[in-house]
């Protein structure tokens, strides 16, 4: 399995990275926090650790640490609009339940 991006997400990430002018790629991950236990991490990556998993999807390097990989395998990152608001969405097949606001989840 792997981690992938939708076309829109790939386009946006490339634009943001180009604007930032630096960075190895996009770091995805999870950490234990929030009301339902886990929350996503979505950051620019300036360094790649030796143990990191690195994927290439539609021209974007995706970097995931091994611990997060367990909870994220098969995830697709999407970019969408909800009214005026726009941003990234994780389509994660491992998720069993999310909290009301959807910012954290359990597996």
């Amino acid at each position: 399995m792997a981690i992938s991006l939708t076309d829109t997400a790939a386009e946006r990430v490339q634009a943001f990275l180009a604007n930032r002018g630096a960075g190895e790629g996009l770091r995805l991950g999870v950490r234990t926090t929030g009301c339902s236990g886990m929350a996503y991490v979505l950051e620019f990556a300036d360094t790649v650790e030796p143990e990191d998993h690195v994927f290439e999807s539609k021209g974007v390097r995706i970097i995931v640490d091994p611990k997060s990989m367990v909870y994220m395998d098969g995830t697709e990152l999407d970019y969408g609009k909800e009214g005026l608001n726009e941003g990234f969405k994780f389509n994660n097949p491992n998720v069993k339940d999310t909290c009301g606001c959807g910012e954290s989840f359990t597996v």
């Binding site: 930032r20 770091r27 950490r31 009301c35 991490v41 979505l42 950051e43 620019f44 608001n85 994780f90």
Partner: protein, 624 residues
């Protein structure tokens, strides 16, 4: 599922702890809101995709207040309840508003002089409340777009805004339910938008030519600190003036009489504006005027001709540039970058002339209408804590010197103009008379030497000074200006520890043109001011000498002086009295030294007699 944004490495926020921040450019004509998302600062559009929110509010009966384009559209049909350009009224008193804007269609409530209220069907509203409605609308837009509540905002203000106007802006944000992280000067925001703060060192000129006003600022960056070195401008120069000149040209070309040009003024201005905008892209534009009386005029305007028409305005804009450079103590070639702000900087001749003046190509790639909001958003992002590393610290300056009134109606400057803020400065003062137990402090703003030529900001009194001889009390007066440019003054008598203070609250604001005028006056009156200061200083000294002499004469005059000697002193004293009322400080000085000479024998005898008195009844041994 919530929508997420990309964070900087290690800066991912915990769920429900996103710190959303926005930058707001609260403009006279239009306002904007911007934010940083996934590392990009961008202005936020409304539902219909428009970025600019016209700074217009229409009040209606009930709670239905309308802000923006719809309000602007209603301005003609409902002028009394539709408030435009409220920014110009911020922090100003009723009298000042009436004097400065005699043609306003509003009816003012006469109850409150300090904060004028416009009578509308929804009740009386102040400029602060009008601005608050605009800010509320932008807040709503930002929160809808970002999907959460704003933790804080940075609101931009003109560099020339005084204390009252800054405080009024803060109050408006408070009413709109916004937490103001910082008020930021507009030119500083523009420099931040271009990332000029990321450099090691440099000097930047910000050329801001808006719809009705022009400002130029010189910023200096050193060791990661941004500092505004000088500001200058012209409060009645902007895009509207360009339109007026083009409209005048059309009137002349078409041979319209005065009646017609007045009757169709609005239409002429609109078509002039369109022609100006067209000429930023093309070399020639067609003008087709059709009036409702059926007549029509057609013509064309080329860019060369347009340049010739607006040349005087461009030249006029370069004068403040020169002044700003001089105030900063710099030459044009010391400027590393020039940033263009305001829609009127799209005019090619403006860009060329500014480029020529500073000897370098100006930065124009960020939309000049949005650049200020973008810079404010970047600063808000740092202040709200989304970027921990290399915190960007911005420093601004105070536009006019702050000082205190001293004896003789003179102004002692405590914080000179162009000092970077935040700043605190203290100075020690003392009492003028024996047994003085109170001291009245008068806080002033301005560049001139005399109180009457500066603006009064506040007065307060320090009481319960322990009675001491003149000059023995030590009163430390501290002026403190916070990061938003708001002043507080405290006075403390050091020996007794009594203290008193004041915060400068919004009172009567000072108009931009008045600030400008005050700066100009200080330059053109340098010599007068020096003479006036010398005069007042000599007058104060003369007063002191006469008081001391009169006291001495009352005590010992009859005992120690012959009638002849007494007459000589009296006549010298009379000469000094006369000179004091005149305006020749040299004459006063001469009279003081003449009196000094005439009374020196008397002073010597007093000394002797007091020593004799002290020695009387003692033997020499007592003193050995």
């Amino acid at each position: 599922m919530a929508l997420l944004q990309i964070s900087e490495p290690g800066e991912s926020s915990a769920p429900h702890e996103h710190r959303l921040a926005a930058g707001i450019d609260l403009g006279t004509t239009n306002s904007l809101v911007a934010t940083v998302r996934s590392g990009v600062a961008e202005t936020l559009p409304d539902q219909s995709g428009k970025f600019l929110l016209p700074s217009v509010v229409r009040f209606a009966a009930g709670d239905s207040t309308v802000v923006g384009s719809d309000a602007k559209a209603a301005a003609a049909e409902d002028p009394v309840n539709t408030v435009l350009s409220a920014k110009r009224l911020m922090g100003r008193g009723l009298e000042e508003v009436k004097a400065r804007f005699p043609k306003l269609p509003y009816e003012f409530d006469n109850d409150c002089e300090v904060v004028p209220r416009i009578k509308t069907v929804a009740g009386p509203v102040s400029a602060i409340e009008v601005s608050a409605e605009i800010l509320k609308s932008l807040r709503q837009r930002a929160e809808d777009t970002l999907g959460g509540e704003l933790s804080g905002v940075v609101v931009t203000v003109p560099a020339y805004f005084d204390d009252a106007q800054r405080q009024a802006t803060k109050d408006a944000a408070k009413i709109a339910g916004l937490k103001v992280l910082r008020l930021l000067n507009e030119p500083t925001a523009a420099a931040v938008a271009y990332g000029l703060d990321q450099r090691a060192e440099g000097t930047v000129a910000i050329f801001d030519l808006g719809g009705g006003t022009f400002d130029v600022s010189i910023l200096h960056l050193k060791q990661g600190v941004f500092e505004v070195r000088s500001t200058a401008g012209d409060t009645s120069l902007g895009g509207d003036d360009f339109d007026q000149l083009v409209a005048d040209w059309i009137v002349e070309q078409a041979g319209f009489d005065e009646d017609r040009s007045i009757r169709y003024h609005r239409q002429l201005m609109n078509i002039a504006c369109s022609a100006k905008e067209a000429l930023t892209e093309t070399q020639q534009t067609e003008i087709d005027l059709q009036f409702d009386d059926g007549s029509r005029w057609q013509g064309h305007l080329g860019r060369d001709e347009f340049n010739r028409i607006v040349q005087p305005l461009v030249k006029k804009a370069l004068l403040p540039c020169r002044r700003a450079l001089r105030d900063a103590g710099l030459e044009a070639n010391d400027i590393d970058e020039v940033v263009m702000v305001g829609g009127s900087t799209r005019v090619p001749l403006v860009r060329e002339s500014v480029g020529e003046f500073f000897g370098r190509e100006p930065l124009v790639h960020i939309d000049p209408d949005k650049v200020v909001a973008v810079g404010a958003a970047l600063q808000a992002d740092v202040l709200v804590g989304n970027k921990s590393s290399d915190e960007m610290l911005l420093l601004d300056v105070i536009p006019l010197s702050l000082g205190l009134e001293t004896m003789g109606g003179l102004v002692e400057k405590i914080i000179p103009r162009n000092t970077t803020i935040p700043v605190a400065r203290a100075q020690d003062f003392t009492t003028f008379k024996d047994g003085q137990t109170a001291m009245s402090l008068h806080v002033l703003q301005g560049e001139r030497e005399l109180v009457q030529d500066c603006r009064s900001l506040a007065r307060f009194t320090l009481r319960e000074i322990p009675p001491m001889v003149a000059g023995a009390a030590r009163i430390r007066v501290t002026f403190q200006v916070d990061a938003d440019g708001l002043l507080s003054v405290t006075a403390r008598e050091e020996t007794a520890g009594v203290e008193s203070g004041i915060e400068v609250k919004p009172s009567y604001g000072l108009t931009d043109s008045e600030i400008e005028q005050m700066l100009l006056d200080s330059l053109s009156h340098v010599e007068d001011d020096v003479a006036a200061r010398s005069l007042r200083e000599e007058q104060v000294e003369a007063q002191r000498v006469i008081e001391a002499l009169d006291a001495a004469l009352a005590q010992d005059g009859n005992a120690l002086l012959s009638a002849e000697e007494r007459a000589a002193i009296d006549s010298a004293s009379a000469v000094l009295h006369d000179a004091m009322t005149g305006s020749d400080h040299r004459a006063i000085k001469r009279a003081i030294s003449a009196l000094d000479k005439a009374s020196s024998e008397f002073a010597a005898r007093r000394m002797d007699s007091s020593i004799k008195r002290a020695l009387a009844g003692h033997k020499v041994e007592d003193f050995s």
